[in-house]
Protein backbone atom coordinates (compact mmCIF):
# COMPACT_ATOMS: atom_id res chain seq x y z
CA UNK A 1 0.00 0.00 0.00
CA UNK A 2 2.59 2.52 1.14
CA UNK A 3 4.97 1.76 -1.75
CA UNK A 4 2.21 1.95 -4.34
CA UNK A 5 0.98 5.25 -2.89
CA UNK A 6 4.50 6.69 -3.08
CA UNK A 7 4.87 5.49 -6.68
CA UNK A 8 1.59 7.15 -7.78
CA UNK A 9 2.38 10.33 -5.90
CA UNK A 10 5.89 10.64 -7.32
CA UNK A 11 4.68 9.94 -10.85
CA UNK A 12 2.11 12.70 -10.45
CA UNK A 13 4.39 15.22 -8.71
CA UNK A 14 7.10 14.75 -11.32
CA UNK A 15 4.67 15.18 -14.19
CA UNK A 16 3.13 18.29 -12.62
CA UNK A 17 6.55 19.80 -11.90
CA UNK A 18 7.59 19.22 -15.52
CA UNK A 19 4.41 20.75 -16.88
CA UNK A 20 4.79 24.17 -18.21
CA UNK A 21 2.32 26.91 -18.97
CA UNK A 22 2.18 29.58 -21.62
CA UNK A 23 5.33 31.68 -21.95
CA UNK A 24 7.54 29.66 -19.70
CA UNK A 25 8.63 29.72 -16.12
CA UNK A 26 9.61 33.38 -16.16
CA UNK A 27 6.07 34.44 -16.91
CA UNK A 28 4.13 35.68 -13.85
CA UNK A 29 0.94 33.88 -14.84
CA UNK A 30 2.84 30.60 -15.15
CA UNK A 31 4.49 31.26 -11.80
CA UNK A 32 1.16 31.92 -10.11
CA UNK A 33 -0.32 28.75 -11.64
CA UNK A 34 2.66 26.67 -10.59
CA UNK A 35 2.78 28.20 -7.10
CA UNK A 36 -0.57 26.68 -6.16
CA UNK A 37 -0.37 23.56 -8.32
CA UNK A 38 2.97 22.53 -6.82
CA UNK A 39 2.13 23.49 -3.22
CA UNK A 40 1.92 19.88 -2.13
CA UNK A 41 -1.19 18.31 -0.75
CA UNK A 42 -2.15 14.67 -0.61
CA UNK A 43 -2.92 14.40 -4.35
CA UNK A 44 -5.86 12.20 -3.38
CA UNK A 45 -7.78 12.96 -6.60
CA UNK A 46 -4.91 12.29 -8.95
CA UNK A 47 -3.92 9.12 -7.11
CA UNK A 48 -7.51 7.83 -7.33
CA UNK A 49 -7.41 8.28 -11.09
CA UNK A 50 -4.10 6.45 -11.54
CA UNK A 51 -5.09 3.65 -9.15
CA UNK A 52 -8.52 3.11 -10.73
CA UNK A 53 -7.00 2.90 -14.19
CA UNK A 54 -4.28 0.46 -13.14
CA UNK A 55 -6.73 -1.65 -11.11
CA UNK A 56 -8.76 -2.33 -14.26
CA UNK A 57 -5.73 -3.10 -16.41
CA UNK A 58 -5.39 0.27 -18.14
CA UNK A 59 -2.24 2.14 -19.10
CA UNK A 60 -0.95 4.67 -16.57
CA UNK A 61 0.18 7.01 -19.35
CA UNK A 62 -3.45 7.41 -20.44
CA UNK A 63 -4.64 8.19 -16.93
CA UNK A 64 -1.75 10.50 -16.04
CA UNK A 65 -2.93 13.58 -18.01
CA UNK A 66 -6.37 13.15 -16.45
CA UNK A 67 -4.85 12.77 -12.98
CA UNK A 68 -2.86 15.97 -13.59
CA UNK A 69 -5.86 17.79 -15.01
CA UNK A 70 -8.06 16.91 -12.03
CA UNK A 71 -5.33 18.15 -9.69
CA UNK A 72 -5.19 21.36 -11.77
CA UNK A 73 -8.97 21.74 -11.40
CA UNK A 74 -8.67 21.11 -7.66
CA UNK A 75 -5.88 23.71 -7.41
CA UNK A 76 -7.91 26.29 -9.35
CA UNK A 77 -10.91 25.73 -7.07
CA UNK A 78 -8.77 26.35 -3.98
CA UNK A 79 -7.31 29.56 -5.45
CA UNK A 80 -10.75 30.96 -6.23
CA UNK A 81 -12.25 29.74 -2.91
CA UNK A 82 -9.49 31.52 -0.98
CA UNK A 83 -10.12 34.91 -2.66
CA UNK A 84 -11.15 37.83 -0.42
CA UNK A 85 -14.60 37.89 -2.05
CA UNK A 86 -15.06 34.19 -1.23
CA UNK A 87 -13.63 32.54 1.92
CA UNK A 88 -10.90 35.18 2.36
CA UNK A 89 -8.24 32.69 3.48
CA UNK A 90 -4.63 33.84 3.76
CA UNK A 91 -2.95 30.49 4.51
CA UNK A 92 -3.20 27.17 2.70
CA UNK A 93 -0.96 24.13 3.20
CA UNK A 94 1.34 26.20 5.39
CA UNK A 95 1.94 28.86 2.73
CA UNK A 96 0.34 32.22 1.94
CA UNK A 97 -2.57 31.81 -0.47
CA UNK A 98 -2.20 32.69 -4.14
CA UNK A 99 -3.78 36.16 -4.00
CA UNK A 100 -1.62 37.11 -1.00
CA UNK A 101 1.49 36.44 -3.08
CA UNK A 102 0.40 37.46 -6.60
CA UNK A 103 -2.53 39.81 -5.98
CA UNK A 104 -6.20 39.21 -6.59
CA UNK A 105 -6.24 39.84 -10.33
CA UNK A 106 -3.42 37.39 -11.04
CA UNK A 107 -4.97 34.82 -8.69
CA UNK A 108 -8.25 34.96 -10.60
CA UNK A 109 -6.35 34.49 -13.88
CA UNK A 110 -4.18 31.70 -12.47
CA UNK A 111 -7.37 29.83 -11.54
CA UNK A 112 -8.92 30.45 -14.95
CA UNK A 113 -5.72 29.28 -16.64
CA UNK A 114 -5.43 26.08 -14.60
CA UNK A 115 -9.07 25.21 -15.29
CA UNK A 116 -8.87 25.83 -19.03
CA UNK A 117 -5.47 24.21 -19.53
CA UNK A 118 -6.76 21.12 -17.69
CA UNK A 119 -9.18 20.53 -20.57
CA UNK A 120 -6.42 21.06 -23.09
CA UNK A 121 -4.31 18.46 -21.31
CA UNK A 122 -7.10 15.85 -21.18
CA UNK A 123 -8.02 16.39 -24.83
CA UNK A 124 -4.58 15.17 -25.93
CA UNK A 125 -4.94 11.60 -24.64
CA UNK A 126 -5.09 9.08 -27.51
CA UNK A 127 -7.74 6.74 -26.07
CA UNK A 128 -11.13 5.64 -27.39
CA UNK A 129 -12.85 6.92 -24.23
CA UNK A 130 -11.06 10.29 -23.90
CA UNK A 131 -14.09 12.36 -24.86
CA UNK A 132 -16.39 10.41 -22.50
CA UNK A 133 -13.97 10.78 -19.60
CA UNK A 134 -13.45 14.49 -20.31
CA UNK A 135 -17.24 14.95 -20.39
CA UNK A 136 -17.50 13.37 -16.94
CA UNK A 137 -14.85 15.74 -15.61
CA UNK A 138 -16.58 18.81 -17.07
CA UNK A 139 -19.89 17.74 -15.56
CA UNK A 140 -18.33 17.09 -12.16
CA UNK A 141 -16.47 20.41 -12.08
CA UNK A 142 -19.09 22.82 -13.48
CA UNK A 143 -22.42 24.23 -12.38
CA UNK A 144 -23.88 20.73 -12.05
CA UNK A 145 -21.06 19.78 -9.71
CA UNK A 146 -18.29 21.57 -7.85
CA UNK A 147 -19.10 25.16 -8.86
CA UNK A 148 -22.77 24.50 -8.12
CA UNK A 149 -21.78 23.15 -4.70
CA UNK A 150 -19.76 26.25 -3.93
CA UNK A 151 -22.78 28.42 -4.84
CA UNK A 152 -25.01 26.20 -2.69
CA UNK A 153 -22.56 26.62 0.20
CA UNK A 154 -22.77 30.40 -0.14
CA UNK A 155 -26.49 30.29 0.56
CA UNK A 156 -26.15 27.68 3.35
CA UNK A 157 -27.61 24.88 1.26
CA UNK A 158 -30.99 26.54 0.62
CA UNK A 159 -33.53 25.33 -0.44
CA UNK A 160 -32.30 22.29 1.56
CA UNK A 161 -32.23 22.46 5.36
CA UNK A 162 -30.21 20.90 8.19
CA UNK A 163 -28.35 17.69 7.41
CA UNK A 164 -29.95 17.57 3.95
CA UNK A 165 -28.32 20.92 3.17
CA UNK A 166 -24.93 19.67 4.40
CA UNK A 167 -25.31 16.52 2.28
CA UNK A 168 -26.23 18.51 -0.83
CA UNK A 169 -23.23 20.81 -0.38
CA UNK A 170 -20.83 17.91 0.28
CA UNK A 171 -22.12 15.90 -2.65
CA UNK A 172 -21.54 18.69 -5.14
CA UNK A 173 -18.69 20.70 -3.67
CA UNK A 174 -16.38 17.84 -2.73
CA UNK A 175 -17.99 14.57 -3.74
CA UNK A 176 -18.10 15.15 -7.48
CA UNK A 177 -14.37 15.83 -7.80
CA UNK A 178 -13.52 12.75 -5.71
CA UNK A 179 -15.84 10.49 -7.69
CA UNK A 180 -14.82 11.62 -11.16
CA UNK A 181 -11.13 10.60 -11.09
CA UNK A 182 -12.22 7.03 -10.33
CA UNK A 183 -14.79 7.12 -13.15
CA UNK A 184 -12.37 8.67 -15.64
CA UNK A 185 -9.54 6.29 -14.70
CA UNK A 186 -11.82 3.29 -15.22
CA UNK A 187 -13.18 4.58 -18.53
CA UNK A 188 -9.66 5.10 -19.87
CA UNK A 189 -8.74 1.56 -18.82
CA UNK A 190 -11.48 0.17 -21.04
CA UNK A 191 -13.48 -1.11 -18.06
CA UNK A 192 -17.06 -2.31 -18.63
CA UNK A 193 -20.02 -0.05 -17.90
CA UNK A 194 -20.81 -2.13 -14.83
CA UNK A 195 -17.26 -1.69 -13.52
CA UNK A 196 -17.43 2.05 -14.16
CA UNK A 197 -20.69 2.27 -12.21
CA UNK A 198 -19.21 0.33 -9.27
CA UNK A 199 -16.25 2.72 -9.35
CA UNK A 200 -18.72 5.59 -9.26
CA UNK A 201 -20.35 4.11 -6.15
CA UNK A 202 -16.95 3.75 -4.51
CA UNK A 203 -16.02 7.36 -5.30
CA UNK A 204 -19.38 8.59 -4.14
CA UNK A 205 -19.21 6.97 -0.69
CA UNK A 206 -15.52 7.83 -0.36
CA UNK A 207 -16.36 11.47 -1.07
CA UNK A 208 -18.99 11.59 1.68
CA UNK A 209 -16.62 9.86 4.13
CA UNK A 210 -13.85 12.28 3.14
CA UNK A 211 -15.93 15.34 3.89
CA UNK A 212 -17.22 14.06 7.24
CA UNK A 213 -13.65 13.21 8.23
CA UNK A 214 -12.44 16.63 7.05
CA UNK A 215 -15.10 18.32 9.17
CA UNK A 216 -14.12 16.18 12.16
CA UNK A 217 -10.44 17.02 11.70
CA UNK A 218 -11.29 20.72 11.69
CA UNK A 219 -12.68 20.14 15.21
CA UNK A 220 -10.11 17.71 16.62
CA UNK A 221 -7.07 17.93 14.33
CA UNK A 222 -3.57 19.29 14.89
CA UNK A 223 -3.02 22.70 13.29
CA UNK A 224 0.70 22.30 12.56
CA UNK A 225 0.16 18.91 10.94
CA UNK A 226 -2.73 20.14 8.80
CA UNK A 227 -0.91 23.29 7.63
CA UNK A 228 -3.99 25.48 7.92
CA UNK A 229 -5.99 27.35 10.52
CA UNK A 230 -8.43 25.00 12.25
CA UNK A 231 -11.62 25.51 14.21
CA UNK A 232 -12.66 27.94 11.50
CA UNK A 233 -15.85 26.06 10.68
CA UNK A 234 -17.00 26.29 14.29
CA UNK A 235 -16.00 29.94 14.69
CA UNK A 236 -17.94 30.85 11.55
CA UNK A 237 -20.87 28.63 12.56
CA UNK A 238 -20.46 26.77 9.26
CA UNK A 239 -22.85 23.96 8.64
CA UNK A 240 -20.76 20.82 9.00
CA UNK A 241 -21.68 17.19 9.46
CA UNK A 242 -20.57 17.00 13.14
CA UNK A 243 -22.34 20.30 13.84
CA UNK A 244 -25.58 18.73 12.60
CA UNK A 245 -25.41 15.27 14.17
CA UNK A 246 -22.70 15.49 16.84
CA UNK A 247 -19.15 14.05 16.81
CA UNK A 248 -20.14 10.57 17.87
CA UNK A 249 -22.74 10.08 15.17
CA UNK A 250 -20.46 11.74 12.58
CA UNK A 251 -17.80 9.10 13.33
CA UNK A 252 -20.35 6.35 12.83
CA UNK A 253 -21.49 7.88 9.55
CA UNK A 254 -17.88 8.10 8.32
CA UNK A 255 -17.47 4.41 9.15
CA UNK A 256 -20.69 3.49 7.34
CA UNK A 257 -19.69 5.41 4.19
CA UNK A 258 -16.21 3.87 4.23
CA UNK A 259 -17.71 0.37 4.48
CA UNK A 260 -20.06 1.14 1.59
CA UNK A 261 -17.12 2.37 -0.51
CA UNK A 262 -15.13 -0.80 0.20
CA UNK A 263 -18.13 -3.00 -0.60
CA UNK A 264 -18.62 -1.35 -3.99
CA UNK A 265 -15.19 -2.64 -5.07
CA UNK A 266 -16.12 -6.34 -4.68
CA UNK A 267 -16.46 -6.70 -8.45
CA UNK A 268 -12.71 -6.03 -8.82
CA UNK A 269 -11.62 -8.73 -6.36
CA UNK A 270 -7.98 -8.71 -5.22
CA UNK A 271 -6.99 -5.97 -7.64
CA UNK A 272 -8.93 -3.45 -5.56
CA UNK A 273 -6.67 -3.90 -2.52
CA UNK A 274 -5.10 -0.46 -2.90
CA UNK A 275 -8.35 1.49 -3.24
CA UNK A 276 -9.90 -0.45 -0.33
CA UNK A 277 -6.94 0.30 1.89
CA UNK A 278 -6.96 3.96 0.87
CA UNK A 279 -10.53 4.30 2.12
CA UNK A 280 -9.78 2.51 5.38
CA UNK A 281 -6.65 4.57 6.06
CA UNK A 282 -8.64 7.76 5.59
CA UNK A 283 -11.04 6.64 8.30
CA UNK A 284 -8.11 5.85 10.61
CA UNK A 285 -7.30 9.55 10.84
CA UNK A 286 -10.33 10.20 13.06
CA UNK A 287 -10.17 7.03 15.12
Amino acid sequence: MHEQMKRYKMLLEDALAASFFAEGEQDELSQAMRYSLLAGGKRLRGILCLAACEMAGGKLEDALPFAMAIEMIHAYSLIHDDLPAMDNDTMRRGKPTNHVVYGEAMAILAGDGLLTDAFWLMSGVPNARTLDALREVAHAAGSFGMVGGQALDMRFGAPYEGLEAVKAIHRKKTGCLITVPVVAGLMLSGASEREVEQGRQYGWHLGVAFQIIDDLLDLIGDEAQMGKHLGKDEAEEKMTWPAMVGQERARMDAKYETDAAVLALDIFGEKAAFLRQLAMNMLERVN
Copy 2:
Protein backbone atom coordinates in the same frame (compact mmCIF):
# COMPACT_ATOMS: atom_id res chain seq x y z
CA MET B 1 -25.78 38.85 -45.95
CA HIS B 2 -28.23 40.56 -43.62
CA GLU B 3 -30.74 37.69 -43.73
CA GLN B 4 -28.07 35.06 -43.14
CA MET B 5 -26.64 37.04 -40.21
CA LYS B 6 -30.11 37.27 -38.66
CA ARG B 7 -30.66 33.54 -39.14
CA TYR B 8 -27.36 32.60 -37.42
CA LYS B 9 -27.95 35.09 -34.62
CA MET B 10 -31.50 33.89 -33.93
CA LEU B 11 -30.44 30.25 -33.99
CA LEU B 12 -27.75 31.06 -31.44
CA GLU B 13 -29.86 33.33 -29.21
CA ASP B 14 -32.69 30.78 -29.10
CA ALA B 15 -30.32 27.95 -28.22
CA LEU B 16 -28.60 30.01 -25.51
CA ALA B 17 -31.94 31.13 -24.04
CA ALA B 18 -33.13 27.51 -23.92
CA SER B 19 -29.91 26.34 -22.27
CA PHE B 20 -30.23 25.65 -18.65
CA PHE B 21 -27.68 25.34 -15.88
CA ALA B 22 -27.53 23.25 -12.75
CA GLU B 23 -30.60 23.45 -10.57
CA GLY B 24 -32.80 25.39 -12.93
CA GLU B 25 -33.74 28.98 -13.51
CA GLN B 26 -34.58 29.65 -9.87
CA ASP B 27 -31.04 28.95 -8.77
CA GLU B 28 -28.95 32.09 -8.17
CA LEU B 29 -25.86 30.64 -9.85
CA SER B 30 -27.89 29.81 -12.97
CA GLN B 31 -29.41 33.28 -12.88
CA ALA B 32 -25.99 34.92 -12.67
CA MET B 33 -24.70 32.78 -15.54
CA ARG B 34 -27.73 33.55 -17.69
CA TYR B 35 -27.66 37.26 -16.84
CA SER B 36 -24.35 37.75 -18.61
CA LEU B 37 -24.75 35.08 -21.27
CA LEU B 38 -28.09 36.49 -22.45
CA ALA B 39 -27.07 40.15 -22.19
CA GLY B 40 -26.99 40.53 -25.96
CA GLY B 41 -23.89 41.50 -27.86
CA LYS B 42 -23.06 40.91 -31.50
CA ARG B 43 -22.45 37.15 -31.09
CA LEU B 44 -19.55 37.57 -33.51
CA ARG B 45 -17.70 34.49 -32.23
CA GLY B 46 -20.70 32.18 -32.35
CA ILE B 47 -21.73 33.42 -35.78
CA LEU B 48 -18.21 32.83 -37.13
CA CYS B 49 -18.41 29.22 -35.96
CA LEU B 50 -21.81 28.57 -37.57
CA ALA B 51 -20.86 30.36 -40.81
CA ALA B 52 -17.51 28.57 -41.16
CA CYS B 53 -19.16 25.18 -40.67
CA GLU B 54 -21.94 25.87 -43.18
CA MET B 55 -19.50 27.38 -45.70
CA ALA B 56 -17.60 24.08 -45.85
CA GLY B 57 -20.74 21.94 -46.11
CA GLY B 58 -21.01 20.89 -42.44
CA LYS B 59 -24.12 20.43 -40.33
CA LEU B 60 -25.20 23.45 -38.27
CA GLU B 61 -26.33 21.19 -35.42
CA ASP B 62 -22.74 20.04 -34.95
CA ALA B 63 -21.39 23.59 -34.88
CA LEU B 64 -24.16 25.00 -32.68
CA PRO B 65 -22.92 23.59 -29.32
CA PHE B 66 -19.44 24.91 -30.15
CA ALA B 67 -20.86 28.31 -31.12
CA MET B 68 -22.75 28.39 -27.81
CA ALA B 69 -19.72 27.21 -25.85
CA ILE B 70 -17.46 29.88 -27.35
CA GLU B 71 -20.06 32.54 -26.47
CA MET B 72 -20.14 31.10 -22.94
CA ILE B 73 -16.34 31.37 -22.74
CA HIS B 74 -16.53 34.94 -24.06
CA ALA B 75 -19.22 35.78 -21.45
CA TYR B 76 -17.13 34.28 -18.63
CA SER B 77 -14.09 36.28 -19.71
CA LEU B 78 -16.10 39.52 -19.60
CA ILE B 79 -17.50 38.73 -16.12
CA HIS B 80 -14.02 38.09 -14.72
CA ASP B 81 -12.49 41.07 -16.60
CA ASP B 82 -15.11 43.40 -15.12
CA LEU B 83 -14.40 42.35 -11.51
CA PRO B 84 -13.17 45.04 -9.07
CA ALA B 85 -9.78 43.33 -8.83
CA MET B 86 -9.44 43.42 -12.64
CA ASP B 87 -10.84 46.28 -14.80
CA ASN B 88 -13.45 47.30 -12.20
CA ASP B 89 -16.15 48.03 -14.77
CA THR B 90 -19.70 48.68 -13.58
CA MET B 91 -21.48 48.86 -16.96
CA ARG B 92 -21.42 46.45 -19.89
CA ARG B 93 -23.77 46.47 -22.90
CA GLY B 94 -25.94 49.09 -21.22
CA LYS B 95 -26.50 47.01 -18.08
CA PRO B 96 -24.79 46.80 -14.67
CA THR B 97 -21.99 44.24 -14.72
CA ASN B 98 -22.44 40.81 -13.13
CA HIS B 99 -20.73 41.54 -9.82
CA VAL B 100 -22.73 44.74 -9.38
CA VAL B 101 -25.94 42.68 -9.55
CA TYR B 102 -24.92 39.39 -7.90
CA GLY B 103 -21.89 40.31 -5.81
CA GLU B 104 -18.25 39.46 -6.40
CA ALA B 105 -18.32 35.89 -5.09
CA MET B 106 -21.25 34.85 -7.27
CA ALA B 107 -19.73 36.63 -10.28
CA ILE B 108 -16.50 34.65 -9.89
CA LEU B 109 -18.52 31.41 -9.68
CA ALA B 110 -20.76 32.37 -12.61
CA GLY B 111 -17.63 32.80 -14.72
CA ASP B 112 -16.16 29.52 -13.51
CA GLY B 113 -19.45 27.76 -14.24
CA LEU B 114 -19.79 29.17 -17.76
CA LEU B 115 -16.21 28.19 -18.60
CA THR B 116 -16.52 24.65 -17.29
CA ASP B 117 -20.00 23.99 -18.67
CA ALA B 118 -18.78 25.16 -22.09
CA PHE B 119 -16.48 22.14 -22.21
CA TRP B 120 -19.30 19.86 -21.12
CA LEU B 121 -21.45 21.22 -23.95
CA MET B 122 -18.76 20.74 -26.62
CA SER B 123 -17.94 17.22 -25.44
CA GLY B 124 -21.48 16.06 -26.32
CA VAL B 125 -21.20 16.65 -30.08
CA PRO B 126 -21.24 13.35 -32.02
CA ASN B 127 -18.66 14.24 -34.68
CA ALA B 128 -15.38 12.58 -35.63
CA ARG B 129 -13.51 15.85 -35.01
CA THR B 130 -15.14 16.88 -31.71
CA LEU B 131 -12.05 16.20 -29.61
CA ASP B 132 -9.76 18.06 -32.04
CA ALA B 133 -12.06 21.07 -32.13
CA LEU B 134 -12.44 21.08 -28.34
CA ARG B 135 -8.66 20.95 -28.01
CA GLU B 136 -8.34 24.03 -30.21
CA VAL B 137 -10.85 25.89 -28.04
CA ALA B 138 -9.05 24.95 -24.82
CA HIS B 139 -5.73 26.11 -26.25
CA ALA B 140 -7.21 29.39 -27.49
CA ALA B 141 -8.92 30.16 -24.17
CA GLY B 142 -6.26 29.13 -21.63
CA SER B 143 -2.84 30.33 -20.56
CA PHE B 144 -1.50 29.95 -24.11
CA GLY B 145 -4.29 32.18 -25.40
CA MET B 146 -6.92 34.44 -23.89
CA VAL B 147 -6.00 34.09 -20.20
CA GLY B 148 -2.33 34.56 -21.13
CA GLY B 149 -3.28 37.70 -23.05
CA GLN B 150 -5.12 39.11 -20.07
CA ALA B 151 -2.07 38.51 -17.89
CA LEU B 152 0.16 40.12 -20.54
CA ASP B 153 -2.17 43.14 -20.59
CA MET B 154 -1.83 43.50 -16.82
CA ARG B 155 1.90 44.03 -17.18
CA PHE B 156 1.54 46.27 -20.27
CA GLY B 157 2.82 43.65 -22.67
CA ALA B 158 6.23 43.21 -21.03
CA PRO B 159 8.70 41.85 -22.11
CA TYR B 160 7.44 43.27 -25.44
CA GLU B 161 7.48 47.03 -25.97
CA GLY B 162 5.49 49.58 -27.96
CA LEU B 163 3.51 48.30 -30.93
CA GLU B 164 4.96 44.81 -30.45
CA ALA B 165 3.45 44.75 -26.95
CA VAL B 166 0.07 45.85 -28.30
CA LYS B 167 0.24 43.17 -31.00
CA ALA B 168 1.12 40.46 -28.50
CA ILE B 169 -1.76 41.44 -26.22
CA HIS B 170 -4.24 41.65 -29.10
CA ARG B 171 -3.14 38.36 -30.57
CA LYS B 172 -3.71 36.45 -27.34
CA LYS B 173 -6.41 38.38 -25.54
CA THR B 174 -8.79 38.86 -28.46
CA GLY B 175 -7.37 37.19 -31.54
CA CYS B 176 -7.36 33.62 -30.27
CA LEU B 177 -11.06 33.59 -29.42
CA ILE B 178 -11.96 35.09 -32.81
CA THR B 179 -9.80 32.63 -34.73
CA VAL B 180 -10.89 29.48 -32.94
CA PRO B 181 -14.62 29.51 -33.83
CA VAL B 182 -13.64 29.54 -37.51
CA VAL B 183 -11.16 26.69 -36.99
CA ALA B 184 -13.62 24.64 -34.90
CA GLY B 185 -16.50 25.22 -37.34
CA LEU B 186 -14.36 24.07 -40.26
CA MET B 187 -13.05 21.00 -38.40
CA LEU B 188 -16.60 19.92 -37.52
CA SER B 189 -17.63 20.32 -41.16
CA GLY B 190 -15.01 17.79 -42.18
CA ALA B 191 -12.98 20.39 -44.09
CA SER B 192 -9.48 19.47 -45.29
CA GLU B 193 -6.40 20.49 -43.31
CA ARG B 194 -5.62 23.10 -45.97
CA GLU B 195 -9.09 24.59 -45.65
CA VAL B 196 -8.79 24.66 -41.86
CA GLU B 197 -5.46 26.48 -42.14
CA GLN B 198 -6.91 29.07 -44.54
CA GLY B 199 -9.76 29.55 -42.07
CA ARG B 200 -7.18 30.07 -39.35
CA GLN B 201 -5.51 32.78 -41.46
CA TYR B 202 -8.87 34.46 -41.99
CA GLY B 203 -9.68 34.40 -38.27
CA TRP B 204 -6.24 35.63 -37.39
CA HIS B 205 -6.34 38.72 -39.63
CA LEU B 206 -9.98 39.35 -38.74
CA GLY B 207 -9.03 39.30 -35.05
CA VAL B 208 -6.30 41.92 -35.54
CA ALA B 209 -8.66 44.08 -37.61
CA PHE B 210 -11.36 43.68 -34.95
CA GLN B 211 -9.12 44.90 -32.17
CA ILE B 212 -7.76 47.90 -34.10
CA ILE B 213 -11.34 48.85 -35.00
CA ASP B 214 -12.46 48.37 -31.38
CA ASP B 215 -9.66 50.67 -30.21
CA LEU B 216 -10.63 53.26 -32.84
CA LEU B 217 -14.28 53.10 -31.80
CA ASP B 218 -13.27 53.76 -28.20
CA LEU B 219 -11.80 57.03 -29.48
CA ILE B 220 -14.42 58.08 -32.05
CA GLY B 221 -17.53 56.00 -31.30
CA ASP B 222 -20.95 56.94 -29.95
CA GLU B 223 -21.43 56.00 -26.28
CA ALA B 224 -25.21 55.39 -26.44
CA GLN B 225 -24.84 53.14 -29.47
CA MET B 226 -21.97 51.16 -27.95
CA GLY B 227 -23.71 50.65 -24.58
CA LYS B 228 -20.53 51.23 -22.58
CA HIS B 229 -18.37 54.04 -21.31
CA LEU B 230 -15.95 55.21 -24.00
CA GLY B 231 -12.71 57.12 -23.97
CA LYS B 232 -11.64 54.88 -21.11
CA ASP B 233 -8.54 53.60 -22.93
CA GLU B 234 -7.28 57.15 -23.41
CA ALA B 235 -8.12 58.27 -19.86
CA GLU B 236 -6.24 55.28 -18.47
CA GLU B 237 -3.38 55.71 -20.95
CA LYS B 238 -3.97 52.15 -22.09
CA MET B 239 -1.72 50.90 -24.81
CA THR B 240 -3.91 50.76 -27.90
CA TRP B 241 -3.11 50.48 -31.58
CA PRO B 242 -4.10 54.10 -32.44
CA ALA B 243 -2.19 55.35 -29.38
CA MET B 244 0.94 53.70 -30.81
CA VAL B 245 0.68 54.60 -34.49
CA GLY B 246 -1.94 57.37 -34.69
CA GLN B 247 -5.52 57.21 -35.97
CA GLU B 248 -4.66 57.55 -39.64
CA ARG B 249 -2.18 54.71 -39.68
CA ALA B 250 -4.47 52.57 -37.49
CA ARG B 251 -7.21 52.92 -40.13
CA MET B 252 -4.78 51.82 -42.83
CA ASP B 253 -3.69 48.84 -40.74
CA ALA B 254 -7.32 47.82 -40.19
CA LYS B 255 -7.86 47.96 -43.94
CA TYR B 256 -4.75 45.90 -44.61
CA GLU B 257 -5.77 43.19 -42.10
CA THR B 258 -9.30 43.08 -43.51
CA ASP B 259 -7.95 42.62 -47.04
CA ALA B 260 -5.67 39.83 -45.83
CA ALA B 261 -8.63 38.12 -44.11
CA VAL B 262 -10.71 38.30 -47.30
CA LEU B 263 -7.84 36.99 -49.41
CA ALA B 264 -7.40 33.95 -47.16
CA LEU B 265 -10.89 32.78 -48.11
CA ASP B 266 -10.11 32.44 -51.85
CA ILE B 267 -9.91 28.68 -51.51
CA PHE B 268 -13.65 28.57 -50.64
CA GLY B 269 -14.76 30.54 -53.72
CA GLU B 270 -18.34 31.81 -53.79
CA LYS B 271 -19.32 29.97 -50.63
CA ALA B 272 -17.20 32.40 -48.61
CA ALA B 273 -19.38 35.40 -49.53
CA PHE B 274 -20.82 35.72 -46.03
CA LEU B 275 -17.50 35.62 -44.15
CA ARG B 276 -15.94 38.06 -46.67
CA GLN B 277 -18.80 40.49 -46.24
CA LEU B 278 -18.65 40.18 -42.47
CA ALA B 279 -15.01 41.32 -42.49
CA MET B 280 -15.75 44.22 -44.84
CA ASN B 281 -18.77 45.39 -42.83
CA MET B 282 -16.67 45.47 -39.69
CA LEU B 283 -14.22 47.82 -41.39
CA GLU B 284 -17.11 50.05 -42.49
CA ARG B 285 -17.76 51.00 -38.87
CA VAL B 286 -14.64 53.17 -38.74
CA ASN B 287 -14.89 54.65 -42.24
